[in-house]
Structures are given as structure tokens and as C-alpha cells.
């Protein structure tokens, strides 16, 4: 069972809820933090048995002696990552998407693929929760390959929560793809609603069942509730604004400490999702 926690808008409470869902899960659970640009899941868990692995992607390396400067590599590359200039061929690894086309097309066999570091995957254990977190190296532009690497850590037999990056473009898609259910977290404001509609459209394109959690539900107005009602989208939970919860969050504590009632509500969500309800 893989549950993705996503949103259109940033700051709605994805990580807060991902961590809380992990903590109340009735079984061992894996939490994949796929917000690799700004991973925060580790802040809320006391982790042991920490491990780090370096994540790389394949980029081309040209053997100058074998290269015949035919330019085939340059012609197949869609990303301007490899240039053939007279006798020399240049690689721009930071632009490479690791498709392997240049290596495959080279008639001289002059191109091999070498690893290039893009970030790390850190993992640790907090009780029954195993956290696997991707962390993109600052200055590196592409989050998606690292997100895919984090997802490859998913263990088939273990319930998994995927903490997704905000937005609806390629990084969010890479994180959400393959999930059995998506929880969209929102807030009842104009920005919240607008970005929720984008996220809903995205999840519908991926054809994954989903439901909504409204955070800070007593601020703002009824527009999100009205929208969900009109679109027949289940609202799994409304969480009221809670100053003490915000303060606890600011200190890196789980929301459950300030709002213990949430435990039962979140366990109920697990039941609903696990039971195939959508």
C-alpha cells in the first residue's frame, strides 16, 4: 500500500501529515521523503541507524583517442549536453538527462557512461518508521532523477507513505506515480483552492484515487469545501487551526503532541484507505 501525500500549494502541511500518518500507522511503515529540494521529514523523527548513500546519474565520457568527431552524439542529444567541435567533443554533465542516446549511437564506441553525483539518500529508523530521504545537492537543477532513486527504495511488502514536493510538474509526478492513493493537503483560502484544482487535475490524469485533507480548516472560507462537494471529492479530514500545534511544529515536534485527537482521526484514514475506500 503506497500512499502519496501531495498538494499544489506549498506549506499546506504535507510533511506534518506524512510524519503523523507514519507515527500512527498500525504496522511497520516506510516514509519516503521525496521533497528532495527541501527535505524536512527528518526534523520530526528521532532517528537511529542512520545511513547515507551517494546518488549518481550516468553522464557521458568521451575517449578522445577513439572519437572520430562524426557529430552523431551531438545530433541525438536533445539537451545540448554534448557538443562535437572539430576534433574535440565536449560534455556538459549538468545538462545531461542520462538517456544513454549518445553512448548508444556513437559508431566508434568512444562514449562510455560515468557516474555524476546529484545528491544523497539518507535513511534511518524511528521505532516502526523507516525514513528514506532524498537530498539534492544545492546548485543541482534536476530533482526528478533523485526522486526516482528514493522511490526505488520502496519495499513491496511494507506500507509506504510518500511525502511529495509541492506543485504539479515533473518532480511531483515522479513522486506520485505508482501510488495506490493520493492525499491532497490544502487550506481553505484562494491560493489553497487554486492550487488544489491543479493538483486534482494532475492526479486525475494519473488515474489514482484520492481524497483531501483540509488543514487550518477554520480559517479562510468555504470555497474548498464547496469545490470538493461539487467535484465529489471526499474530504478525509478537517484540521482546525491550532496555535500550539504551529508552535510545536516550529520546534520540530510532531503535530500529534499538541493535537492528540488527531491520532484516532488519522488511524481512521489508514483504515479507510487500506480498506480500498476512495
Amino acid at each position: 500500500m503506497k500512499v502519496a501525500v501531495a498538494s499544489g500549494k506549498g506549506g499546506t502541511g504535507k510533511t506534518t501529515l506524512s510524519v503523523a500518518l507514519a507515527l500512527v500507522a498500525p504496522q511497520p511503515v516506510m516514509l519516503l521523503d521525496c521533497d528532495v529540494e527541501e527535505p524536512n521529514g527528518h526534523i520530526f523523527l528521532t532517528l537511529e541507524a542512520m545511513e547515507t548513500e551517494t546518488v549518481t546519474v550516468a553522464v557521458p565520457e568521451i575517449d578522445a583517442a577513439t572519437c572520430r568527431a562524426c557529430g552523431e552524439c551531438m545530433r541525438i542529444c536533445r539537451f545540448n549536453a554534448i557538443i562535437s567541435l572539430g576534433a574535440k567533443a565536449l560534455v556538459f554533465p549538468e545538462l545531461c538527462h542520462s538517456c544513454g542516446g549518445c553512448a548508444r549511437v556513437c559508431p566508434s564506441g568512444a562514449i562510455s557512461e560515468i557516474p555524476r553525483r546529484i545528491g544523497t539518500i539518507d535513511s534511518g529508523i524511528a521505532g516502526h518508521v523507516t525514513l528514506v530521504q532524498g537530498r539534492l545537492d544545492v546548485g543541482n537543477a534536476m530533482a526528478t532523477p533523485l526522486i526516482r532513486a528514493v522511490k526505488r527504495h520502496a519495499d513491496r511488502g511494507v506500507a509506504t507513505i510518500i511525502d511529495c514536493p509541492p506543485g504539479t510538474s515533473c518532480p511531483m509526478i515522479a513522486a506520485v506515480r505508482g501510488a495506490d492513493f493520493v492525499i491532497l493537503v490544502t487550506e481553505p483560502t484562494p491560493f489553497g483552492l487554486h492550487d488544489l484544482t491543479l493538483a486534482v487535475e494532475t492526479v486525475r490524469t494519473l488515474a489514482i484515487p484520492f481524497g483531501v485533507i483540509v488543514n487550518r480548516a477554520d480559517t479562510g472560507d468555504s470555497r474548498v469545501a464547496d469545490y470538493c462537494s461539487h467535484e465529489e471529492i471526499p474530504i478525509l479530514l478537517n484540521i482546525p487551526e491550532n496555535r500550539r500545534a504551529a508552535e510545536a511544529y516550529s520546534r520540530g515536534e510532531s503535530i500529534l503532541s499538541a493535537m492528540p485527537d488527531l491520532t484516532a482521526a488519522l488511524r481512521d484514514i489508514w483504515r479507510r484507505i487500506g480498506g480500498g475506500e476512495a
Binding site: 536533445r78 539537451f79 545540448n80 549536453a81 557538443i83 567541435l85 572539430g86 574535440k88 565536449l90 556538459f92 545538462l95 537543477a141
Partner: protein, 120 residues
Amino acid sequence: MKIAITTSGETLAAPLDSRFGRAPRFLIYDTETGTYRTVDNAQNLNAVQGAGIQAAQTVAQTGVSRLITGHCGPKAFRVLRAAEIEVFHTDAPTVQEALDRMDKGELLAAQDADVEGHWL
């Protein structure tokens, strides 16, 4: 020797364009004959990334040994140097003024890119 200068115009009186990757065209000046032609900085505008690299390739194909521009980012610089083209920076207002300053020896060949790359 042939020199490329980034410009938005078509003649020696035209303004020098300070950008390299996004300059509208290059004026190619032949110092031996005193003649020139312009080359459009046409790129695959649909490319996801790497405009500076493509511009550098365009320049490399013209057979120049020097480029005069305002600023040049690291990726373009790398391609130009690999093509053995020397890069010169100037704030000269026109193509002619840039060539004059080069003639007088007022311009120095750049050792490195002088601006950070734009992502695109």
C-alpha cells in the same frame, strides 16, 4: 583574422549587444579585407536548455578566431575555448568602437567566463 562581434544591427555602426547567448546576431569582420557579414544567432528556440552553447557553436562554425562581446557565461565560454576562439569583453557602444579598441590593444583576452550562467 576573422572576429565575431555580438550585435543587434547589421553594420559597423550598429550597437554592440552585451549578451552572448541571446544576442540577435554576430557581425563577422575580416581584418585582412576589411569586409564583413552578419550571421543570425538563430537557435533551436524549442530547445529545453543550452542557448549559450548553441550560440557558441554557431560562432565556432564561422571560422573566427576571436569573439568580442559584453558578457559570456561559463558554458558558452567553455565551448568557445574548446574551439580555440579567444573571448574579449568590452562595454564599447558600437561594433566599430569595439574593433577600434581591439586594434589599439585595449582589450584583453578573457581567462574565464565573466558572469554566472543562466540556467537557460
